[in-house]
């Protein structure tokens, strides 16, 4: 038997048509299902809209509360700002200096916490002082110091105080001058176990 013969045999197979009652019943029930489905869909849409509206309101209220809490509880702007090696570190230093005229020696960022090193009394401002970044790392800890050339910086870590003065040389290098050490890029000795790196900061204000 060829494929043609097979097709011919199958084509000759007639089937009974559906009864009119069955057809009518099927249409009737399907139409009811459609109506219910449409109703359910529109109800769902309304519910979804209400749900979305409620969710948006909740989200907005939550965001407002968080913002209010953040504004109320945030530390001083200088302390929340992140000092990085980017040029904006210089801007941050300059802006903070405007808040504490003549008092700001440095901004110290220690393991994510920010602290200001302020002089007890205001000294004459030195607008030409070069802003510098001193980065100290030891045992996974990082200290970032945003300071000025020529202004003393005091850092406390694990009960030990480290004092130094960053100094910008005529060649553009930075020295760290302490009570009993001098650090430079040319002689990058560790200071109390700290690895040191320095760079100048750009102030664009």
């Amino acid at each position: 038997m060829t494929d043609h013969d097979l097709r011919h045999s199958l084509a000759a197979h007639q089937i009974p048509g559906p009864s009119a009652q069955a057809r009518e019943r099927a249409l009737h029930r399907a139409t009811i299902a459609l109506a219910n489905s449409t109703h359910t869909t529109s109800t769902d849409t309304r519910r979804r809209s209400l749900g979305i509206g409620f969710a948006l309101s909740t989200l907005t209220a939550t965001a407002a509360i968080i913002l209010c809490a953040w504004f109320a509880l945030r530390p001083a702007p200088v302390q929340t700002a992140t000092a990085t090696t980017s040029p904006t570190g210089g801007d941050l230093l300059a802006k903070t200096g405007l808040l504490f005229p003549g008092q700001l020696n440095a901004i110290v960022i220690q393991d994510g916490e920010t602290r200001l090193d302020l002089s007890p009394t205001a000294t004459l401002p030195a607008p030409d002082d070069q802003a510098v970044l001193v980065e100290l790392t030891r045992n996974g800890h990082t200290l970032r110091v945003l300071g000025y050339s020529g202004r003393s910086v005091s850092i406390e870590f694990d009960g030990t105080e480290l004092r130094f003065v960053p100094l910008l040389t005529a060649t553009g290098d930075i020295l760290l001058s302490g009570d009993n050490f001098i650090w430079s890029k040319a002689e990058p000795a560790k200071i109390a176990g700290w690895n040191v790196s320095t760079q100048t900061l750009e102030v664009r204000l």
Partner: protein
Amino acid sequence: MSTATPPPILPGAPSHESVADIDLIPLATAGSTDAFTTLFNRHYTAIHAYAYRLCLCSAEAEDVAQETFIQAARSLTSFRREASFKNWLFSIATNRTRDRLRKRRQRDRLDSALANQPAHEAIDHVSLAAGALDSQRAVQAALANLTTDQREAITLVYYENLNHAEAARVLGCAESTVSWRLFRAKTKLRKTLRAHRHD
């Protein structure tokens, strides 16, 4: 492929008759009974015929066709344009039929029911010459000898003129699977029909 009696067309919306399925679906989804009725009238006979060839039973075919359109009405919003509306209906009908046959099989009656299916059931509705009647019975018996998978493949490809890829999408299997089922089905049909001719 013919059916015995042309089914009566139920009242729909004449204005929708020339509208393509794909354009009627959004109307029906929006709640237009006329649009849905047009879709129903357009495809009910084919779905019933398909269901009949899978079940080989008039009552089951009517039930499957009805369930298919109820399911389609409920799921119309989930219809994607990846397949034609008709092929989507075939998919639903396939699943509904499988459910029914599975239940029948669970009752351990499927094979015997199909094997003992009175061939004259399909022919009660039509008047055929004796030779043709005999041929009808032979094809009916041959189809009943196929597995459900094979009948699905034969029906979609030989009766509904779907290509193997379309049939595979309807059946939810690989194209090669459809081809293999067709090969097996044709082998079995040839054997059965040849034996009938020699009798």
